[in-house]
């Protein structure tokens, strides 16, 4: 049918420099609507189950891509058509997943999300308490404290590592790079277990916020170090040479030229590190224990954190507690978006400044 449509077109002046001729557009439109229409009709009539109509759609669409490509460019176009159709599905897959993730958290999370939910704590709340009481104020504070401590520890070490890799050009540079890479592959559950095995299981410390912060540090350090390394690499070599020519020592070149030049990039590294760990749950399961009370002392007593709150809440078989968990997830997602966007804005400013 699609061939007939195209052959009936009156021949028009070909303009090869135009990227898309009318024919091309027509081929694309027909090839991408026909299978969808066909499968939608089948589904509406009810001959086949939704799953099978969906599968049929995928197969037909790829076949339509192949046919469209062949019409357009002959046999050479066949693979292109299949490729384009498959890429379309890959994009559709990731788009669907993305919107589905946000949609599922948003719809379920808005139910319990009130102002009181963000500031109150959970002390007198049971899983069946109605919505409108209690909240995750204690967990928000806990997350801020734990992430804050992790940032204080990991940012200096991470930047020092990056400086070592970029400024000290010894042979051990490659080794350090490899180690940072290896450390970034440590699973979050292992980071938590390590802190537990080293400091809690041996009886040195109890479950507390500091332990969670140390577990976070292990995960955050490689992110900070690698981003900072990339940023320091962007500092122009001329600046270093100029400072050295003026008689500055290596240490002064780093502290007075390299680091100030890369300042906003280093902040980006920190923010990306925070975004990396703020939602990590597994390390907290073994380190901070969780609490329903507000505890702002990181070295004494169990602490709460948003990811752990979600983790425990959603396992409860009671609707109010689950709704609260989803709201907490919404708050967490919001925090991640804030740090992520800040990092993005800062790094794009830097790039613009460069030009």
């Amino acid at each position: 049918m699609s061939t007939a449509l195209i052959e009936n077109q009156t021949p028009s002046a070909q303009r090869p420099w135009r990227k898309k001729s009318r024919n091309d557009v027509l081929i694309v439109v027909v090839a991408s609507t026909l299978p969808a229409l066909f499968c939608f009709t089948i589904y509406q009539i009810g001959i086949l189950s939704p799953v099978i109509s969906g599968m049929l759609f995928v197969i037909l669409q790829i076949a339509a891509g192949a046919i469209a490509g062949t019409i357009h460019r002959g046999r050479r176009g066949l693979a292109d058509g299949v490729l384009i159709a498959s890429i379309g599905f890959a994009l559709a897959f990731i788009g669907t997943v993305m919107s589905s993730v946000i949609w599922s958290v948003l719809t379920k999370g808005l139910e319990a999300l009130k102002w009181q939910f963000i500031i109150q704590n959970n002390e007198y709340i049971t899983p069946t308490s109605p919505l409108g009481y209690g909240g995750i104020g204690h967990a928000v504070l806990g997350t801020l404290i734990i992430v804050g401590i992790a940032t204080i520890i990991s940012v200096p070490i991470g930047i020092a590592t990056a400086v070592y890799i970029t400024e000290v050009r010894g042979r051990s540079r490659v080794l350090v790079q490899g180690l940072v890479q290896a450390m970034s592959g440590v699973p979050s559950v292992v980071a938590g277990l390590f802190i537990f095995a080293t400091l809690i299981f041996t009886g040195v410390f109890e479950f507390n916020g500091l332990m969670g912060a140390l577990a976070y540090t292990i995960l955050m350090l490689p992110t900070v170090a690698r981003t900072a390394e990339e940023v320091l690499r962007l500092v122009p070599e001329d600046l270093r040479s100029a400072a050295l020519a003026l008689g500055a020592s290596r240490a002064r070149v780093v502290s007075m030229v390299v680091l100030p030049t890369a300042k906003s990039g280093l902040v980006t590294a920190m923010l990306l590190g925070i975004a990396r760990v703020v939602g990590e749950t597994a390390p907290l399961v073994f380190t901070i224990f969780g609490s329903a009370k507000t505890n702002i002392n990181p070295v004494e007593g169990p602490m709460a954190a948003i990811p752990l709150y979600i983790f425990n809440g959603v396992r409860q078989p009671f609707a109010p507690e689950q709704a609260r968990a989803y709201s907490a997830a919404l708050v967490l997602l919001f925090l991640v978006i804030v740090f992520f966007t800040l990092a993005r804005v800062l790094s794009s400013d830097r790039r613009k400044g460069k030009k």
Partner: protein, 302 residues
């Protein structure tokens, strides 16, 4: 500064040392071979704390389960990632490419617990239907067998969640290596009449091959170590290894095992769980080392 630079070395060695040291009691109790090849995981402790038999701890079933779901994740995630990477590099306009890049990066930043919630509430009902359909229509193929009539908690569903989580990682690395294809090679291919597929097949992919392999290994490392998202949607089955039945609700995952058993474990079981953590640590370390070696052997200037 040198001290800070080798901080990662110190941490890595400490992790290895303490996990080995603390898991020794359990491994001595079980024997290393039994611990690695056994499939049972039972502390044999009743709820009132009395022990009647000797506990058995073996990680083989969980270990294979971990690898199985990671393989599913790569099988689904790799084509999707490559498709998106090719689209960003070769097809999309500059503005669309930037938008997609940011979207993918944002997807990478979503915490795993949020994916876990999504997996429970949105994916499981759909994944259950797909699994059921796979068994009913393709059940004659051994991997789609299901003798239990339950399609919730299958490695298939866990694999999809992991596929979504590894896609951003594989996409961003392969996008970068594909983008480094020398433009003159692409121009030459097009001048010879090469359309999209021939250009990819004979120019871009050979150029980016090792980078894509490294990206896949990186994604594999992430998939092997993922915990909470898998914990919610995978049913752990002890006592036998589910080699290939991906739509049967018999899964395994070392990370999930650790989280599931941790809160009620006695010291010996905790020691055994730490042993499981050590196995996981070693595997991810190996996978990452392979990835780094491949990446380094080709990209000299990194």
């Amino acid at each position: 500064m040198t001290a800070a630079a080798f901080f990662s070395l110190i941490v890595l060695s400490l992790i290895a040392f303490f996990l080995v040291y603390q898991s020794l009691p359990a491994i001595r109790d079980q024997g290393l071979i039994n611990f690695l090849t056994g499939t049972e995981w039972d502390s044999k402790t009743t709820s009132d704390g009395t022990t009647t038999e000797d506990p058995v701890f073996g990680v083989a079933a969980m270990l294979w389960g971990t690898i199985l779901i990671a393989i599913i994740a790569i099988v689904i995630g790799l084509p999707v990632s490559l498709g998106i990477a090719v689209f960003i590099v070769f097809i999309a306009s500059a503005r669309l490419a930037t938008l997609l890049r940011n979207t993918i990066d944002f997807l990478a930043a979503i915490p795993s617990i949020v994916f876990g919630l999504w997996a429970i509430s949105a994916l499981t009902p759909v994944g259950k239907q797909w699994g059921e359909w796979l068994t009913n229509s393709l059940g004659f193929i051994p991997i789609f067998e299901n003798n239990l009539g339950i399609w919730v908690g299958t490695p298939f569903i866990a694999g999809i969640v992991l596929a979504v989580m590894v896609t951003p990682i594989i996409t961003s690395v392969s996008r970068e290596v594909l983008g480094r294809t020398p433009p003159e090679l692409i121009n030459a291919s097009q001048a010879l009449g090469g359309t999209l597929w021939p250009t990819l097949r004979y120019v871009a992919f050979p150029f980016a091959k090792s980078g894509i392999v490294a990206a896949t290994m990186l994604g594999l490392g992430r998939a092997l170590g993922e915990t909470v998202a898998v914990f919610y949607v995978l049913n752990l089955t002890y006592g036998k290894i589910n080699w290939y039945q991906i739509v049967s609700p018999d899964g395994g995952s070392i990370a999930s095992l650790i989280v599931a058993k941790f809160s009620e474990a006695d010291p010996l079981e905790i020691s055994a769980l730490l042993g499981g953590g050590m196995v996981l640590f070693i595997i991810t370390l190996i996978v990452n080392a392979i990835s780094t070696t491949i990446a380094r052997s080709t990209v000299k200037d990194m």
